[in-house]
């Protein structure tokens, strides 16, 4: 259901944040504004081609996270790590997450409350929109731009129109944020040069891990920013992670949206995206072809959270990964890994015949650990199913929730997790 809105209303969440960061009373779609950046996150890949700046804006508004290629799989990556450590030391960057306290940057951002409500966060990784789960204007920018922000402390945005998703009802057991996102991507397709905003009466029932999955995946429909309204659940999460003071940004009662769409959470079923893209290419699992899979992957900034390892462990306890299937589970951070060990999840997952790796972006971007060969079929809970993304361009990458991926690893075929959960 869609409703066109009037043209002269108040501000959306993103407009509110950008106006505040630009020191303006209001901004409108089409405006280009220069804004302060509250937190700028550098990742290991940036240090592959790196020159130390002569001066930086603020070491306390800077963090460095080693994530994409750790522990270093190549000499080039090892040398990037050397440069990152030197830079952090020389410029007094206290928020430096080296191997051992590392993780995928968006997970580390969440664990350390670096993305705060109402603020602006930048990072080179395209899934930086993950921070939108915490009511933050967070998005990926290129490496050169992040160097610019490191130097000047600010950047510019052209304000895009916002698509509002009004959440109603509650998710059924076994249905996750990935299913919400795949339903949206499959139904509405790309949101290029638009922001996505999530709120509504159903929001309170959506756990923070599912919000982050949804926010992370906003990049996959080409959105600029993806952001959630702030609520008590978000506030409790941030308090538990030692958040500094912040001022949330809520949409005005007459905020102006390009379109408002309703999602009935209670009606959602497990979804699967077919290979290539999620955009108008994701369907209820019952409508997707019965395919044998050779690799199943649970990991990435979207679905390598502690809840994903919990779901994996619960489904795998007393079961076995099917012969001929590799199930790879990559915790999103060293903290997730340690918690999952402590809670027994790693034991359950490994006992079932799966491989639990160290935390890294690794297999998700086809760089190290878990690449696909020609002719193989993968079902992944990670972020992206582009052709060639995880190895050979002649492999096929389907995408689904952690529950669907793990269930399918047990059966060896793309399987509706409700068959097991029931």
């Amino acid at each position: 259901m869609s409703t066109e809105q009037g043209v002269d209303g108040g501000m959306t969440v993103i407009e509110t944040i950008l106006a505040r960061a630009a020191g303006r009373d209001r901004v409108r779609p089409g405006d280009t504004v220069v804004t302060r950046v509250d937190m700028n996150v550098l990742i290991d890949l940036m240090f592959t081609r790196w020159v130390d700046p002569l001066r930086i804006a603020d070491p306390d508004r800077t963090a460095i996270v080693l994530d994409h290629a750790v522990p270093a799989p190549t000499l080039v990556d090892a040398e990037a790590g050397v440069r990152a450590r030197h830079f952090a030391e020389a410029f007094g960057i206290k928020r430096f997450f080296d191997v051992g306290r590392h993780g995928i940057c968006h997970q580390v951002i969440a664990e350390n409350a670096l993305a705060l409500p109402g603020q602006v966060l930048t990072c080179t990784d395209s899934h930086t929109c993950a921070g939108g789960a915490y009511n933050t204007a967070a998005r990926g920018l290129g490496p050169a731009e992040v160097v610019g922000i490191l130097c000047t402390g600010e950047t510019w945005y052209t304000v895009a129109p916002t698509i509002r998703y009004e959440l109603d009802g509650e998710l059924a057991p076994g249905i996750g944020g990935k299913d919400v996102f795949l339903h949206i991507a499959g139904t509405y397709g790309d949101a290029t040069n638009h922001n996505l905003e999530f709120g509504g009466p159903g929001l309170a029932s959506v756990p923070m891990n599912d919000r982050r999955t949804i926010a992370t995946q906003g990049a996959e429909v080409s959105a600029d920013f993806t952001v959630f309204e702030y609520d008590d659940r978000c506030g409790e999460f941030l308090a538990a992670h030692g958040a500094a003071e912040y001022t949330p940004a809520q949409p005005g009662p007459d905020a102006n949206y390009a379109v408002v769409r309703h999602v009935d959470l209670g009606a959602l079923v497990p979804h699967v995206a077919r290979p290539g893209t999620v955009s108008r290419n994701a369907f209820p699992v019952t409508e997707v072809e019965d395919r044998a899979v050779q690799q199943c992957f649970v990991g990435s900034c979207a679905n390598g959270q502690l809840d994903d390892l919990r779901i994996s462990a619960e489904l795998l306890r007393g079961r076995r990964v099917a012969d001929g299937v590799r199930l790879i589970v990559t915790p999103a951070s060293q903290q997730v890994y340690r918690d999952a060990v402590r809670l027994g999840y790693v034991q359950d997952i490994a006992d079932a015949g799966a491989v639990v790796t160290n935390s890294t972006c690794g297999a998700c971007f086809g760089y190290h650990m878990g690449l696909l060969g020609a002719g193989e079929v993968c079902l992944t809970a990670s972020t992206r199913n582009f052709r060639g993304r995880m190895g050979s361009p002649d492999a096929e990458i389907y995408m689904a929730s952690t529950a669907t991926v793990v269930t399918s690893a047990v059966t060896g075929r793309i399987t509706d997790p409700r068959e097991v959960l029931a």
């Binding site: 290129g142 050169a144 731009e145 040069n193 990049a219 971007f365 760089y367 060639g388 361009p393």
Partner: protein
Amino acid sequence: MNHEITGRTWVIGDSVDTDAMYPGFAMKLPVEEAARHVLYDLRPGWTEQVEAGDILVAGRNFGIGSSRPVAALLRHLGIAALIAEEFNSLFLRNAINNGLPALAVPDVRRFVSEGDVLTLNLATGQVDTPAGRLDAAPLPAMVLDILDAGGLLPRLAAAGYLPREDA
């Protein structure tokens, strides 16, 4: 930079993503080697055919995907400008910040066939094709400034933030 660019066109489709232009395996290679793998699967052999000054024309949602700096590879291949019916905003910013002009021209593929020579003007938005003239939105002054400096890093060097010799 000269705001008027004339070149021979290459035309690709909708939603050409960053992994198609800068595949994961190429991220382990130096720029000059990685550049040989642009469109490795979509247009095998293309990087051998591209000549300095060529213009790459794409459809909608051009450059969806990651922040890996595809523009650095395209510049290495000699691509002089990008035109697309619609750009992913991260990809567009990455192009500009790497000093590669990029102009959004809705419906451009209705007027351009591969191999056509066209002229675009970044400051006016005018595109002259063999099939006629198109008028797109010009690049904002802020963006032209970045391109005039040769990209963001040279501009930061000029402003004293980065050592000049390395920018």
